[in-house]
Symmetry: C2
Subunit: 624 residues, 2 copies
Amino acid sequence: MLQGGYTGKILRVDLSRKEAHTEELSPEFAKGYIGGAGFGIKTLYDEVPAGADPLGPDNKLIFASGPLSGSDTPCASRMAVTSKSPLTGAVGMATTGGFFPAELKFAGYDALIVEGTAASPMYVTINDGDVQFRDAAGLWGTHTSDCQQMIKDSLKDQGYRIACIGPAGENLSRLACIINERRAAGRKGLGAVMGSKNLKAIAVRGHGEIAVADPDAYKTARSSFREHMRESPVLYSAFAKIGTPMVVDVLGAMGMLAAKNWQATGEFVPVDELGTEAGKAVTVGRNPCQGCPVACSQLKLARNAPYTGIMAEGPEFESLYSLGTQCGVDNMDAIIAADRLCDELGLDTMSAGVTIGFAMELSERGALSAIDSGDLDISFGNDRAMMALLEKMAYRDGIGDLLADGVKEAAERIGGDAAYYAMHVKGLELPAYDVRGAKAHGLNYATSYTGADHNRGYAFQEIFGIPIPKEVDRFALEGKGELCKWNQDMRTATCDCPTMCAFLLDMAVPAVAAENAAALLTSLTGVSFTAEEVFQVGERVNNLARAFNAREGFSRKDDTLPDRLMNEPLLVGGSKGHHIPQEDLDLMLDDYYTARGWDVATGTPTRAKLEELGLASVADDLGV
Amino acid sequence: MLQGGYTGKILRVDLSRKEAHTEELSPEFAKGYIGGAGFGIKTLYDEVPAGADPLGPDNKLIFASGPLSGSDTPCASRMAVTSKSPLTGAVGMATTGGFFPAELKFAGYDALIVEGTAASPMYVTINDGDVQFRDAAGLWGTHTSDCQQMIKDSLKDQGYRIACIGPAGENLSRLACIINERRAAGRKGLGAVMGSKNLKAIAVRGHGEIAVADPDAYKTARSSFREHMRESPVLYSAFAKIGTPMVVDVLGAMGMLAAKNWQATGEFVPVDELGTEAGKAVTVGRNPCQGCPVACSQLKLARNAPYTGIMAEGPEFESLYSLGTQCGVDNMDAIIAADRLCDELGLDTMSAGVTIGFAMELSERGALSAIDSGDLDISFGNDRAMMALLEKMAYRDGIGDLLADGVKEAAERIGGDAAYYAMHVKGLELPAYDVRGAKAHGLNYATSYTGADHNRGYAFQEIFGIPIPKEVDRFALEGKGELCKWNQDMRTATCDCPTMCAFLLDMAVPAVAAENAAALLTSLTGVSFTAEEVFQVGERVNNLARAFNAREGFSRKDDTLPDRLMNEPLLVGGSKGHHIPQEDLDLMLDDYYTARGWDVATGTPTRAKLEELGLASVADDLGV
């Protein structure tokens, strides 16, 4: 019997039949998967058959808040959204913050499983135990902020928290995200899954509270966690004031700020224009998630024509890259406007920007000459073209249709050597960190179960020089397999499952992340966890995700990096001379698979490892 | 002692001193002025000295909901916002709906008087009895929808209702409005008054209820009122389904839909593009005011590039004219986008659109050749230029600075014969109704205390053929003085003061409007009113407003119409051959002043009339 933290209830919603019902969450599940991404991936593995069309009725979409979400543990209003990704064909799991995750708990549910396909545009409202299927004909086509306000007004309750898609999701762009408030479950095309189900939005309102199994122990654990936060050398002193844009400065100094579609020339490093000081100058407010004392989220306002008056949450660091350096744009106002536009259209800023940068390079190389781009001058630095392309991608208008599904798909349609310039892994466009200068980070891009995803195994050791679990040389290959595994499992275990903001792992309490999670989870939920058990949940979930991908045909051959990173050493800057040739990647992969206990030839989990993790039936499924 | 309907409390806020205090509302005031516009204009007359700079610290801004507002009488969440208008120099009173008006009552106040000037950008929060003065540095420059959301997020309460200005108000455009939710106190530059006071927003949250003095009588009065609403031949059957855009069809058929800056050619009548059926095709939802069963407000969505995905409340009929026909634009999507842009910038759609149409005509006539308009092609039908000019006006950018204060000011700066093409009365740009075909409507434009304001004395008899108080010929001059007075006093008495949505007077219950108001007010408030007394409040308020204007130097000479309407008969259509030459206007003015008991030579209220209305001290002030 679950005593606290968990509501103990899963809401399952069938859009085809307009039926909702509630299922119990078992203590065994809690112990084995904690929640959040653990719940999502377990459900995905169990319920979405191999070969299912990600945009077909067999795919499911799982919104899962962890047991910490909605409690008064700081920074825990997070949620994992999981589906089979239409962008990668692999596990698509993205996390989001804001208020929706906690509200789902207040409404009485640990998770929401969406299945089937609505016959026509629909939205679902959840008000405590009351679930309604409502006509979304009038919402179809709206921007995400309008959509959210329309729903609140329509329901006559401004307190609803809403996750929705924009036009990009409706038009099945595989770069579409899910927006809740000003937050996004951004990557892997999860917005297209919602769109394919004709599901415009989910509105949640809850009035419940999160129970605590052992109040005294929980109070102690929470105090200890807060103390660890205060002890962080960067969390309140820098990160809370500047937010993620501080990484522009960090990567600029390291020669790792990717620009202009990852050309190795390194001549575009606009730290003065896009970094910390530039960010401060345009910041007009904060936008913290529920229960967050850090409030890293910045609201930024453009003050110069033609973007005057446009405000965005962010642009976060990754958007400063994707809509900035990647496209050769160093106009902060343009990036603010593009960021907001992406949020309104429901486009992933990262994949969308990377795709536009890709188009810009191809255009400059003449490879788009056969393609009608109207009167657009698609070249690096043209922010007006960037804005226009974002619109075209969301509406699949002209050349936007070619780009709406990301670089991998576009490169295949363009042909020639376009694939060489397509910066992705498994179809997921690369995040900002030029991993030629950070090998474990690169290894994570190659091996993450979601594709090139900095959020599944962030090598903060290499980026910030934090010596936990040990000191590392970012250029070295040695030990990076083990480190990558640790980062992936720790992130999953302490952030994606409980759920908890990833920044707290990266910047505050990495040394004791598992201990903190164990103490908080045990006291809050009544399910006993050691730090080792918490960490092992991370490993279990990563193995299960890998098994899902293996079942879909993924193997070692897919654990790769774009050719450019293998072939073109950086020419200048703090990572000058570095790249990741195939032999280096192979060496790290060997180490990684070995550290994971996976078959080194195929990269598939072994029976031994799966049995060790209690996943014997998965071994049966995989025939290993 | 006030028993119900009224909270009995006025909140007075001094921005200079950051002080707030509460004053009592007296039964004498209730009996004499009811509330809303009555309260606003009485306060303006008593407290704002003659010659005060409308954008200076001596001007005040009064937000007054009437006693019906916040009650369960339908359609009563209305509020009068009153100030000395920076656009006209006369009384600036505009009404708005939505939720703010009722929320102010729930917070415990009948009215809010804002005085002084904040030293730096500020916003005021009112949570029941708690009033706070807060720094608005981060809100300054934001669009109105962002501003409202930022405040709700910042206050951690999504239930706040917020009235705010956009960049236009900050930049003191005399066309700036005040936006609450998606509603506007649109005209007379009230947003510039807020801007001049450095007041970005007022956020109100209330948890109180409206008391009822005589529940049984009130229930009867309310039932009767609802029955009258149901009996209306148009309210639920047509108006509730189509909203104000149905007037496009009506005026098109009458040859009274002004277009292209009121040229008499009449060749631009885009009823198919902008009328009822076109409106239905783009309507995606409703946006009713608090407590409104009619829900005339339509949400409309643009679905064609380059405006795809832009949604607006409206465009209401007047915006279909000002941003449509007046500018030669028949692209519904462009008008939706322009309407939304105006709302975000905090620009009055009507005055802004009329001003752009004025610029388009001057440009086509070559009168703007000496003025740098960048690369804009300012000509009728160019919707992209219209969008660009709206931005430029709000930010006073280039030619936008010339246009930011409306046609009267722009014509003076341009010189030559520009004034001939400036369509305004007393500085307020004309509403859509081409009054060459509706004489009482024209007389109201000429005489309304706010300038050319269709909302202060709407001649529904001429527009809709409603024979109340009697049947009229819209082309006739006879009896229009009396009719205009009746319309002005009835509107003020039954809508602007109690407060009540004006559409209910125009379209539902004109025959019994005063009787309904008397029954509702008496039973709700405990202050006894006959229908005659209600009507007399309307007359009293109109006289007091006229006295304020007289004190500012306004007289019969200012009760005029644009030269074009006096000189150019309509060439085609249902009002072909009609205009209002000076002698016709003079004839109507004589009748009007006589009906009002005012001095016919000067148009100033006489002592006899003022004493009849209990305004002897006003007669003393005026020296009459």
